[in-house]
Each structure stands twice: as C-alpha cells, then as structure tokens.
C-alpha cells in the first residue's frame, strides 16, 4: 500500500445470511490512511457484519474489499498481520492474566520474546492496567476488559485499527479515556481507525468522516459538519427577560428566517447564513433595546441527519431490524 492509496477500500460488498435479509447490501467506501472513519447506525444495520468481513472473520457473499492494500479474500494472512481489532464482545480467557493475554497475542503475531515482554509492559502502562496486569481477567470489570482488548489489538503495531462499538456499556469516564486514546493513535501514530458506533456523540467527537448505514446500505457519508450542513442551517433560541416581549422579539427576528414560538415568549429562528449570523442577531436585539435572558445556538445533530436520511430517529431504530449477531 502506498501513502496515497486508501487504507480501506470497499466495492459493492454484500453479505447474505441463509434465510435472512442482506445484512450488508452493496456498500462502497474508502478510508484514507490516518483517518478516523465512523460507521454509524442502529443495532442490526450491518456495521458489525462489515467489520467481520474487513477483518477476514467472515467471507463476503460478493463484492471486493482491500485492507492495508491486501485483498480480504485472497490475502487474509497479510490483512490480519496489518490490522488490529477490538470486536463488540471482548473475548478474553478468564483463566489468563492481562499480561499473559498480551504475551500470547504477541506470540501469535510472531514477535521475538524480548520484544513481547517489553511491548506487554508498555501497553499495560498505556491502558492503565499495570496494577491489574498479573490478575486473572475473570476478575476484571467491563471497562478493564475493554482497555485490555484495545491493548491486545495494538500489540503488533498495526497500521489499521477496527473498533466495533468500543464504548458500549462503558461509564462516562472510561468512554472519554478511550476516545482520547483513539484520537491520539490517529493523530500521533498515523493509525487508520474504522470505528462502528451507535452513539452520535462518539461519531461526532472522534470521526473525521462518518458513514451512516441503515438496512445494510450507506445512506449518507461525509464529515460530521458536511452532513449537518446538508440537512439544514443552525437555529438560535432567544428567551426574553420579559416574557411579554415575545411578540416584539418575533417581529425583530422574522427577517432572518423561519420562526417558531416557544413557551415564555421564547423564539427560535433559523439562520440560513450559518452561525456567522449570530452576531447580527445580537446587534438587532441590542438596537431594539430588547433584554435577553438567554440566547442559545443549536447546530443540527447527526441524529437530525439520520432522521432526514432514514425517516427515523437513531435511538431505537434498530428494534425492528434483524442483523445476525455473528
């Protein structure tokens, strides 16, 4: 793979399960080296099936994909050597300790013994498991298992990292720690990260680009900003200090765009020119001597994007779908 070719390249990838719908239905995408690609969708949308195919754990029914420059069907061994993956279930051996897991993983990857020991220690420190390193994994918390899983994926210094819903079930502190580490890997080590998630804020916070998948098809793709801009402009909600000033407020703000009246005299107005119009709103209110209790800018969210593209809210959208959980 040269530096200009995509780290991950997918063409018309399909996976059908017997007696089931197409879990992945002809997707195309390309991820550049060093990019964090967020694959966003509800449960059963086809995210995990895509990851299983890209990590050579499941052969596609049709289509092509290259990971790290290698064909996932014909060059599985080279693909596995160039990727790391932390799948949805952190499948660990309850009898082994954290350190033993890392040593085993390093052995499977063919690392020399001296490097194995050094690398295991380095990763244990990085994911904050030094104190628990020699305890059996059976006694680890969910967050500790996730961190160990991430460390295992990094043992051999892969160029591409697959993370399948890495923060599901984690508390806020563990989640933000994992986000920081993923961002660091991409920024400082130039690692390509393919991240599936059903959390909007995760995709928004981490991903350089987002692909939204629903019923096995990619329904939207772009940077989070592009996707939000595609579906609409931001809005500003103004709450007057005097609830009776609502009419005057609405009259002044009508020139900006479509208005909506809320309770207690509050007015929400669209800003077709984007957030740069906010200063103008403030100026108009000042000139009209209208006192304001609060003023809030609302950017469209990825949830709005999902709603616009699929007609459903992301939360709960997976309940009517049936992806095989391989």
């Amino acid at each position: 793979m040269n530096s200009s070719s995509p780290a991950i390249e997918i063409e018309q990838l399909v996976r059908e399960f017997r007696k089931g719908p197409r879990a992945v239905d002809g997707i195309d995408l390309a991820v550049s080296p060093g990019e964090i690609y967020g694959f966003l969708g509800p449960n059963g949308a086809g995210k995990s099936t895509t990851v299983l195919m890209l990590t050579t754990l499941l052969p596609p029914t049709s289509g092509r994909a290259r990971v790290g420059g290698y064909d996932i069907l014909r060059q599985g061994s080279q693909v596995r050597a160039s990727i790391g993956a932390a799948l949805q279930e952190a499948a660990l051996d309850a009898i082994l300790t954290g350190r033993e897991h890392l040593m085993l993983q390093a052995t499977l990857q063919g690392m020399p013994k001296a490097d194995r020991t050094r690398r295991a220690q380095e990763l244990l420190e990085r994911v904050g498991l030094t104190e628990a390193a020699d305890r059996r994994v059976g006694g680890y918390s969910g967050g500790m298992k996730r961190r160990l899983d991430l460390a295992l994926a990094l043992v051999h210094g892969p160029r591409i990292l697959f993370l399948d819903e890495p923060t599901t079930g984690l508390d806020l502190q563990s989640r933000s720690a994992l986000w920081e580490e993923v961002a660091r890997l991409a920024k400082e080590e130039g690692m390509t990260v393919f991240l599936t998630t059903q959390y909007l804020e995760e995709a928004d916070a981490l991903a350089d680009r987002v692909g939204i998948i629903d019923h096995g098809k990619i329904v939207a793709e772009g940077t989070p900003t592009q996707l939000k801009e595609e579906i609409g402009s931001p809005t500003v909600e103004v709450v007057p200090a005097d609830a009776g000033a609502g009419d005057a407020l609405a009259q002044r703000l009508a020139s900006f765009g479509q208005l909506a009246r809320n309770g207690r005299g509050a007015v929400t107005v669209q800003l077709p020119g984007g957030e740069s119009q906010l200063a103008e709103v403030v100026r108009v209110l000042d000139q009209a001597h209208l006192k304001v209790a609060s003023l809030q800018l609302h950017q469209p969210s990825l949830d709005d994007v999902f709603l616009a593209k699929t007609g459903r809210k992301l939360e709960g959208a997976g309940e009517d779908q049936d992806e095989r959980q391989p």
Partner: protein, 256 residues
C-alpha cells in the same frame, strides 16, 4: 512456516498453561484413567485366572496398556471440549482474527493435547508401577509404547478439533466423545481377543484399535506384535483426521 510455528506455539502454551493452573481442567483428565486403572486392574484381576489367559506381566500391565491408550485418546477428546468452549466464549474468534496462519491453530491445539496427555501419562504410569505392574519390555519397547500413545493422542485430538470446529458449540461434546469411546471399548479391553466370542469378537477383530492395543500389550511384555501395523493404522488415522480438522477450520472460517 515461521508464522505457523508461532501460532502453534501460542495456542499450545495456553492449552498446557490452563491445564496446569486450573484444577477443573486438570482433574478430569487424571481421575478418569486412574479410576479405570483401579477398577479394571484391581477389581477384575481374577480374570487373569481364566483358562488360556496367558499374559505374562500380569493383569495390571494388561489393563495398563488399555488405560494408557485410553488416556491418550481422551486427552485429545478433552482438547476438543476446550476448542468447543473457545467457540462458545468467543475466544476462538480472537485466535482466528490474530493468527496470520490459521492452520497453526489446529497444530497448537494438537500440541496442547499432547502436553496435557503427557502429564496424565506420567501420573498413571507412576500409579501403575506403584501398584506393582510388571514391565518386561526394554527401552526400545517403552519408546514404542509412548509412540503409540502419541499417535493415538494426535489422531483423537485432530478428530475432536474437527468436530468442535464444525459445530462450534460445547454441545458437540457427546459427538466428540462417543465414537472414540465406542472404538476403544469395542477392542479387547478385559481379555485377549481370542477369548472373546460372538459379535464382540467379530467387531473387535475388525476394530483398528485392537491391533494398537495388542501392540501396546506386546511392547510391555517385551514380545512386540503388530507394531508396524499399528503405527501404519495410527499414521493413516492421523492423516485422515488432520484433513477432517482442516475442513472443520474452513467451516469455522466460512461461518465467521
């Protein structure tokens, strides 16, 4: 090749490590053969008094040969259980994801089975010697006996790996164990072949395990018989079960 070796080494290390640190894994593989040895060699020792039972080292050695081979075969079976457990727990997926050369996973499980059985073999041999077993065979015969055990263990482990990889659930246990159990117990376990009668004799005569059992007893007695035939049968079995295990792995790869 180097990648294959590393994968095999890692998987084998885990198998032996887990056996040594977990009594729940170690004890069944020790208790079953020890129980068979005590029950058969001790409880049925008067069988050697029946006419035409002429096995010079005695009934303990006669039964030891069976228990030795049975423990080798069941060492492989227990490894199959572990493979099935790895599929149920998801750990097998980690191995499939990590191993650059996946055939090394089968080799690793087989090596692990061998390591586990060697522990059992040492324990039951010590127990049999402590119980007064006579061994008339010399060094070469003993090496031959160990070789038979290794081949038996290998064939059984590869069979078990194949079934576990095809079915990928712990419920595969019965299917892994039953054929091995039937083949072993349809051999002349309690008396020599010539003392069996009826259908049991007919089946035992055709059973490939009979030749191996007779070879093992001959090696202990210092009068080798059917050794080359046994090794040929076991080698053939190992080749067939290796192909079976490889197909099981391919099935697991297809299923994801």
């Amino acid at each position: 090749m180097r990648r294959f070796v590393y994968v095999a080494k890692g998987v084998a290390w885990r198998s032996v490590h887990n056996t040594l640190v977990s009594p729940a894994i170690l004890l069944p593989s020790l208790i079953f053969p020890l129980f068979f040895l005590a029950a058969f060699a001790g409880g049925l020792s008067r069988i050697s008094d029946i006419p035409n039972f002429d096995y010079k080292p005695g009934y303990t050695a006669f039964q030891f040969a069976f228990v030795f081979l049975q423990s080798a075969a069941f060492g492989g079976v227990f490894t199959g259980f572990a493979v099935a457990r790895d599929f149920d727990s998801g750990f097998a997926r980690r191995l499939l994801l990590t191993a650059p050369r996946r055939s090394g996973i089968i080799a690793g499980y087989a090596l692990g089975a061998l390591g586990r059985w060697l522990i059992t073999a040492v324990v039951i041999t010590t127990a049999a010697l402590a119980a007064g077993m006579n061994v008339s065979g010399g060094g070469i015969e003993i090496v031959g006996l160990i070789g038979l055990g290794i081949m038996m263990n290998l064939g059984s482990a590869l069979w078990a790996c194949g079934v576990a990889m095809f079915l990928r659930t712990e419920q595969a246990g019965a299917l892994i164990q039953m054929p091995v159990f039937i083949v072993l117990f349809l051999a002349p376990v309690y008396v020599p072949l010539r003392l069996l009668t009826g259908w049991v004799h007919a089946v035992a005569r055709l059973n490939p395990a009979t030749a191996t059992l007779e070879a093992a007893r001959g090696l202990i007695a210092g009068s080798p018989t059917k050794v080359a035939l046994s090794f040929a049968l076991l080698a053939g079995g190992a080749v067939l079960t290796a192909l079976w295990a490889r197909r099981g792995l391919a099935s697991a790869e297809r299923a994801g």
